[in-house]
């Protein structure tokens, strides 16, 4: 029996170590905020934090997650008031909303390592996350707002 921490709570796992973290989160823990989009780390919809770093949970095997701290969108802020979540709503980013968990988790990791990113740094950090509705200009605006930086 292996254990890991998900959103601050200790969890047990004794299944197939090759199973991606995504399916552990979604199917076993039944936490559905983390989304399935591609299964190949190409779209970012499944982004979570593993020991604080953004990873694609669809390509992270459980064997690489055990013993670590996992944070999902549900655990980013208990009240849903992380500065990015607040900015996301103020700017009105979501359209269908499906990719936004992954976008926010990716952006949160960016701001963790770079509190005042430039536009180029935002683009570099966020271009692995696809939004088919095309909310990119608002995602950029929301990250700038949360970080308190002006448009370049």
């Amino acid at each position: 029996m292996a254990s890991l921490t998900v959103n601050g709570a200790s969890r047990e796992f004794n299944g197939d170590g090759n199973m991606p973290l995504l399916w552990y989160i979604r199917d076993e823990l039944q936490m559905t905020g983390t989304k399935f989009g591609c299964g190949m780390a190409l779209c970012g919809a499944c982004t979570v934090h593993l020991d604080g770093a953004a990873v694609r949970s669809c390509m992270t095997p459980m064997s690489a997650a055990v013993g670590k701290r996992v944070t999902t969108i549900e655990g980013l802020d208990a009240q849903g008031q992380h500065p990015l979540q607040v900015a996301w709503r103020a700017v009105g980013v979501p359209q269908c909303g499906y990719c936004q968990s992954g976008q926010i988790m990716q952006a949160a990791a960016l701001l963790q390592s770079n509190a005042k990113p430039s536009d180029a740094q935002i683009e570099a950090a966020m271009s692995g996350n696809i939004c088919r509705c095309g909310t990119y200009t608002r995602i950029k605006a929301a990250i700038r707002q949360a970080a308190g930086v002006k448009e370049a």
Partner: protein, 767 residues
């Protein structure tokens, strides 16, 4: 745009066949085959708009509004939310007329039940334009009922009571009651007749047009709480993935599930029988692996041994098909519209030019892949999922499982994108079929991204052949357009080879140019895959070719592209769609919805002005313009590009101007336009689905490349043209897309002198 609308369009010709029907595939399949041959005399006045859709409109406030004793107003949204904002916009319309306080309004989602709610098919950029007035009337009727109940309680004439901000006020005395205080009494009163309703004046609107209401799902969407179809979780649930025929029309010769059954977690393997081509929205033939987790089901599928026969489409190849379409475009085809004498005018023209444009297959690729959960218990089937047309799902499942409508319940979740893909409930019927095999346990079917790309209903592929003649002054005197591409009718009827009125009416036959000699032709093309519809549908190829060619004509005439476009549009005037052989007209009344050239000119001029059209551009920079009318809305865009020495393209800015008439939620109109810019750019830069041996060659997002942040427009400026609420409204979800790709390619031409005629652009600038 969809199947029910196909019916509505056909209904213009022969209405008797479908009146009273529920828009099922059966009715459509039976009647569409004879469609082309049958033009009957109209036996009753045609119905338009929402009233021309299957099951029309329900305006009973008791169906859509519930008010609790604590005053909380619950509005039922009968349209599907896929990012366009209808779960906010539709209830907002009703709440405004109700004089409800938006903070005390809650929204619940209707199940698929058109007999109860009216048409629910969320497609064709129709929701706001079809339901603006009905929802206003619902709200007003509920308001009058509350006023009447308050008047009765006070024993005063109803005319002395008025609703204001969730309160009922007795004007002479200033007494007040809350909505919740009289709601139960109000519900017992008769619903006022439409003619007795006092609608607000636009000056009295509290929310409509104000942009003061954030989307109702915003908090859930930013916290992971929002539930999409794929997020459905039920006790004791099973999971399934399906291996499907890689070729449309292919058959399963045999399969061996022995190894799959050995995969830990796999519970059962079930064959899903396909339906004969054309199979409409029925599932493809396949083999499902049912397991106790998604991962186990996926692994089980990998272990299946499958023997597929490709069938007649097994040799479909995009490159050969493209050559065949080019060949067809070089020869005369079925004449769709003709005026003057194009051949003579071409001969006497001072200058002629011609061009072929290629627009490949695309696919919707919503970020949430198709997924549905079904449970079959006690003879009844219940399904949950992201359905654009829940009544179609209900009909299709009922037909396939031979269940009456009352035994099929369809619950609609949020859609993680739709773009037309989730109009087709093949994935829901898969879940329904599997739910019969699990002893009452619910089963969730999950499509992987590969499944989604390999088994979509693809946007058509087309060659658009354009010719024009200019006189000595550079004035256009002749126009010939041949459009070649497989039609979406092919999923409903056997082997149609020409475009439907719906496709023709998407900017082809109704090209709004003032050219004296004009001919539109439609040479034949057969479909070899499931052709479906994708946001903006055939407007994509038609607008790309036409607006690119306008740019080519402008260059040939030596005129400014914006001035030339305005010259081609001609003077402000209203064109009756019937006069340009558009029998569809988006299902709308041709009198209420003419093609208004004044409005198309206005958005063109607005986009140009806002973009700083005519400004000095640095080397490698250029502006391109395009305008297009679709879904009864007028849109023009100016794209600015920067192309460096290595052919690297950047898009610093897009200006997009829209006139959709009166606007309900300006903030969501802006977001739809921004999204349309992104999607239009993505389509043009890298969007392409190709076939080889009948199979799609793209497996995932590394091969079907959709727009990412780093290649998208850096700034988007949306310009809303103020419209009147007295005139009928236009659509918003789709019409932003068509002018983007041609404006982009016109900008590339301005910046580099290179004309892009074949999409996607990909590395063409790097030559």
């Amino acid at each position: 745009m969809n199947r029910t609308e196909l019916q509505a369009s056909r209904g213009r010709l022969s209405r008797r066949d479908f009146l009273g029907g529920t828009g099922g595939a059966a009715a459509l399949g039976l009647t569409l085959g004879a469609w082309h041959d049958r033009v009957e005399a109209q036996t009753e006045p045609p119905k338009y708009g929402a009233y021309g859709m299957p099951n029309g409109v329900v305006e009973n406030p008791l169906v859509f509004v519930a008010i609790a004793p604590d005053g909380i107003v619950t509005v039922t949204c009968h349209r599907a939310e896929m990012g366009q904002g209808v779960r906010t916009g539709v209830p907002l319309i009703l709440a405004d007329e109700l004089e409800a306080d938006w903070a005390r309004v809650r929204v619940v989602q209707a199940p698929g039940d058109e007999a109860r709610f009216g048409n629910q098919d969320t497609d064709g950029s129709r929701t706001t334009r079809h339901f603006f007035m009905p929802m206003r009337r619902c709200g007003a009727a509920a308001r009058h009922m509350l006023e009447g109940a308050a008047a009765a309680k006070w024993g005063v004439p109803a005319g002395e009571v008025s609703a204001k901000n969730h309160q009922l006020i007795h004007k002479p005395t200033g007494r007040t009651l809350g909505f919740g205080d009289v709601a139960a009494d109000a519900a017992k009163l008769p619903v006022p007749a439409t003619g007795d309703l006092k609608l607000k004046t636009p000056a009295e609107f509290r929310y409509i047009g104000k942009g003061n209401v954030p989307i109702v799902d915003g908090f859930d969407m930013t916290t992971g709480r929002a539930k999409y179809g794929i997020d459905v979780v039920m006790p004791d649930m099973l999971y399934a993935v399906v291996a499907r025929s890689p070729v449309y029309g292919g058959t399963l010769r045999g399969f061996d599930a022995a190894e799959a059954m050995k995969v830990p977690g796999v519970v059962k393997v079930v064959e899903i029988k396909g339906s004969p081509v054309p199979s409409a929205f029925q599932p493809l033939p396949g083999v499902a692996v049912i397991a106790n987790s998604t991962w186990a089901a996926m692994n089980g599928r990998k272990a299946l041994k499958l023997d597929w026969e490709g069938g007649p489409n097994g040799s479909y190849a995009s490159d050969a098909y493209r050559r065949a379409m080019l060949d067809a475009a070089g020869k005369p085809g079925k004449v769709i519209r003709t005026s003057g004498n194009v051949d003579d005018a071409m001969k006497s023209a001072a200058k002629t030019l011609k061009a072929d444009y290629y627009i490949p297959h695309l696919t919707q690729a919503p970020m949430e892949p198709p997924s549905a959960t079904a449970r079959f218990k006690d003879g009844s089937l219940e399904v949950w999922g992201p359905f654009q047309s829940p009544q179609a799902v209900r009909n299709d499942i009922g037909k396939r499982l031979e269940l009456p409508a009352e035994k099929v319940t369809v619950n609609v979740t949020l859609l993680g994108g739709g773009f037309g893909r989730k109009s087709k409930g093949d994935f829901a019927t898969e879940a329904a079929l599997l739910a019969r095999e699990t002893g009452g346990r619910p089963v969730k079917v999950v499509w992987t991204r590969e499944d989604d790309l390999h088994h979509s209903y693809y946007h058509t592929v087309s060659v658009e052949h354009l010719e024009a003649g200019l006189d000595a002054g550079g004035k256009p005197v002749a126009w010939l357009h041949r459009s070649v591409g497989p039609t979406l009718l092919a999923i409903f009827m056997p082997d149609p080879k020409t475009e439907s009125p719906i496709e023709l009416g998407m900017g082809l036959t109704n090209v709004p140019f003032a050219v004296p000699n004009l001919r539109v032709e439609n040479p034949e093309a057969a479909a070899h895959t499931r052709i479906g519809w994708y946001r903006a549908v055939s407007n994509i190829p038609h607008a790309f070719a036409i607006q690119s060619f306008v740019g080519e004509m402008a260059a040939a005439s030596g005129k400014d592209p914006k001035d030339f476009l305005l010259e081609l549009l001609g003077p402000p005037r209203k064109i009756d769609p019937r006069d340009v052989n558009d029998t569809w007209n988006h299902g709308e009344d041709p009198v209420a919805y003419p093609i208004d050239i004044g409005r198309l000119r206005r958005v063109t001029e607005r986009a140009a002005k806002e973009s700083g059209w005519g400004r000095q551009m640095a080397k490698g920079r250029g502006l391109g313009i395009a305008a297009h009318y679709s879904f009864t809305t007028y849109v023009a865009s100016v794209v600015e590009v920067q192309v460096d020495d290595k052919g690297e393209l950047k898009i610093p800015r897009i200006d997009i101007a829209i006139d959709c008439g009166g606007i309900v939620n300006p903030e969501r109109v802006r977001s739809q336009m921004e999204g349309a810019c992104a999607m239009g750019v993505g389509n043009a830069l890298s969007g392409e689905i190709t076939f080889k041996d009948g199979r799609v060659e793209q497996d995932n997002f590394h091969q079907f490349e959709v727009l990412r942040m780093n290649s998208g427009p850096q700034r988007i400026f949306v310009h809303l043209v103020d419209g009147s609420y007295d005139a009928p409204l236009g659509g918003v979800g789709e019409p932003g897309v068509p002018p983007i790709a041609p404006a982009l390619c016109n900008a590339i031409f301005a910046a580099t002198g290179k004309r892009i005629r074949n999409l996607p652009i990909r590395d063409q600038l790097k030559a």
